[in-house]
Each structure stands twice: as C-alpha cells, then as structure tokens.
C-alpha cells in the first residue's frame, strides 16, 4: 500500500530532472531496487499508469533493476550473496550476519526526448 507514496516520489523526481533538462517527454525511467527493499514493482506500475497522466512522464516505461543482497558473516568473515531470507552463512552456518547491500532504492536515470530546436 505504501507503493502509492513511493510512486508519487518517483514521479516527482523524474519530472523535476526532466524539466530541468528541457525535456518534452520522458520515455524510460530506470530504478535500482535492492532485493531486501520491500517494494512491489507491479504495484508501483499500477499506480504509475494512473498518476503519470498529463505529465512529462506519461507513457514512460519503468525499468526495475534488481540488485542482489550481499551479506558479511560476523563469525567467519566470509562475504556472500543472500539467496533466500533468513538463510545462514554458507561457510559456517552462523546467523550473525551484517547486510552489505540489498536495501537500495533509488532512481538511477531517465531517458528523455527534447526538441532539437529546428522547425518542422
């Protein structure tokens, strides 16, 4: 349900950067999403189609780039990619783990169209 607030935020950021660049339209939006961040991308897409209407971002395609979660074992020091929630260190079986990455959630880039200046 908090995806509505999140989607509004994506729209605000994308439109702000597009307007600053003099865009006439945003065609694509690239979002980096860590495996551990609790965002449902289908739900973002659902809200997106509604709230992006009548803005520069109307019709823009959302791309979600999923980033894996990497963990550090505090007991044996190994670093590994977490494949499932609540899985132990593959080397020593410890649960004393620290998250190195996987909770990312940022707007990486946008692709825009601009008028080149010539008249048609």
């Amino acid at each position: 349900m908090h995806e509505l607030a999140v989607t509004e935020s994506i729209l605000e950021i994308a439109n702000r950067h597009a307007a600053a660049a003099g865009a006439t339209r945003i065609t694509d939006i690239h979002i980096t999403l860590g495996k551990l961040s609790s965002i449902v991308d289908d739900s973002v897409q659902f809200y997106w189609d509604i709230i992006s209407q009548s803005t520069l971002a109307q019709g823009a395609t959302l791309h979600f780039n999923r980033v894996p979660a990497r963990m550090h074992c505090n007991d044996c020091g190994v670093e590994f990619e977490m494949l499932a929630e609540l899985s132990p260190c593959p080397e020593c079986g410890s649960f004393q783990l620290k998250i190195l990455s996987g909770d990312e959630f940022f707007l990486e880039s946008i692709e825009i169209e601009k008028e080149a200046g010539e008249t048609q």
């Binding site: 908090h2 999140v6 935020s9 004393q96 940022f106 946008i110 692709e111 825009i112 601009k114 008028e115």
Partner: protein
C-alpha cells in the same frame, strides 16, 4: 528531436529522509528522546503507551503523536486522559506515518518541555518500516497471540529495529507460541537486539522497558 539519458541517482524517499533529518535536529535541540512505536493492529501499542505513562509520571515529561488511518481520537483521548499532551494524526487511509506528518504533529506539541516523545505508528508490519521519521529509536511490539512466525514473515521491519517488546506474555500458557523459534528468527535478522518481554495486564517487565527509556533520555541530555 533528440533522445538523452540523464543520470539522476536520487534516493526515491529522499524527500522524506530530508524532512526526517530536520525532525531529528529538533529532537536533538530540545533534548527530547523520540521513539517510533510500530506493531500490527491489536498488539497493544496504546496499552504499552498508557503503562509507560503510568510508570514514568513524575520522572519524565512525555508526549505522544498518535497515527491513525481513520479520524477517530480514541487513542489520543486516552493519552490526554492519562495527563499527557497528545496529538492525533489522521493519515486518511494511508498505511504508515511519514516524516512530513511528524513535522506537522510537532507543531502542536510543546516539544521543548518534553523529555520523551512516543510516536504511535499505524498498525502495520510492512509499510512503516520503509519510512524514516527522524526518531532516535525504532521499537516494535510483537504480541504472543500474533504467533511465533512473524520475524520470518516480516523480516524488513525486524531488521530496522533498535528495541523489540514482546507483549502479552501472560498469555503464553494459553497460546501455542514457541519462544525459541521466535527468538531464533529475531536473532538471525537483528543479532543482539535489545528485547523486553512484558505484560500490560500484569505489569510484568514494564519497569525494564521504562528504565531503558529513562536511561536513553538521560543520555541525550548529557
């Protein structure tokens, strides 16, 4: 017409985060220790707050921000009846509090007079975990009747915690709840998490929790 790719690299919740940072600055300036109290509906958030008020009256000056999805002031009224300032935030159906809502709530509280602020978040184990409010500590109340599998089902909220309260422990003899299984899940997600097992009905464990609040609030004033 030309097509350009523009790098942005901006955190999607950065607007919320920057207001959360301003909230934190105000808490630090007024030396008010602020707690974000989260739980599922019915876990006992308001009961814990009322017990906390009862235990701390005369020791700390406490204020409460109540988040609710509907315009009912039941919770805020109970806090005010208990003699503490409270402000109700109606999220209009939203599933969580965010930093701007706290900012507007703070304008209605005598923050400089308060030692401790408890923010009662909306009853939900998913959405509140995603929004930084600027408070000093994230506290979750898990209650025995909810079941022992909740850390496994809601890992994100457990990962972000500073304190866990296990409430309704007086019901342990009547409910199937494997404490070892529950604590194993918690330990895997948040090793060494400070945990208080309490009952608002019998009063067991409340003092350990309120002593922690007194200590943290004193540390902030140093």
């Amino acid at each position: 017409m030309s097509v350009n790719r523009i790098p942005v690299v901006e955190k999607i919740l950065s607007a919320n985060d920057s207001i959360a940072a301003l909230n934190r600055k105000r808490f630090d300036e007024t030396k008010t220790f602020a707690v974000n109290l989260m739980a599922s509906p019915g876990a006992g958030k308001t009961s814990v707050i009322l017990q906390t008020i009862a235990a701390l009256t005369g020791r700390l000056k406490l204020g409460v921000i109540e988040g609710d999805t509907a315009p009912v002031t039941i919770d805020a009224d109970r806090v005010i009846d208990a003699g503490m300032p409270a402000v109700q935030i109606n999220t209009g159906g939203d599933c969580h509090l965010d930093a701007p809502m706290i900012d507007s709530g703070l304008k209605q509280l005598p923050l400089e007079e308060l030692d401790l602020l408890i923010v009662e978040n909306v009853g939900n184990l998913v959405c509140p975990a995603a929004f930084n409010l600027g408070t000093h500590a994230n506290v979750l109340i898990a209650s025995i009747p909810e079941g022992d599998d909740k850390p496994y089902k809601y890992p994100a909220i457990y990962r972000g915690l500073d304190v866990l309260i296990i409430n309704k422990i007086d019901l342990l003899p009547y409910v199937r709840f494997n404490m070892d299984y529950f604590r194993t899940g918690v330990e895997a997600l948040n090793p060494g998490l400070t945990t208080f097992a309490i009952s608002c009905t019998t009063g067991e464990g409340i003092n350990a929790w309120t002593d922690w609040l007194v200590q943290r609030s004193a540390e902030l004033k140093r």
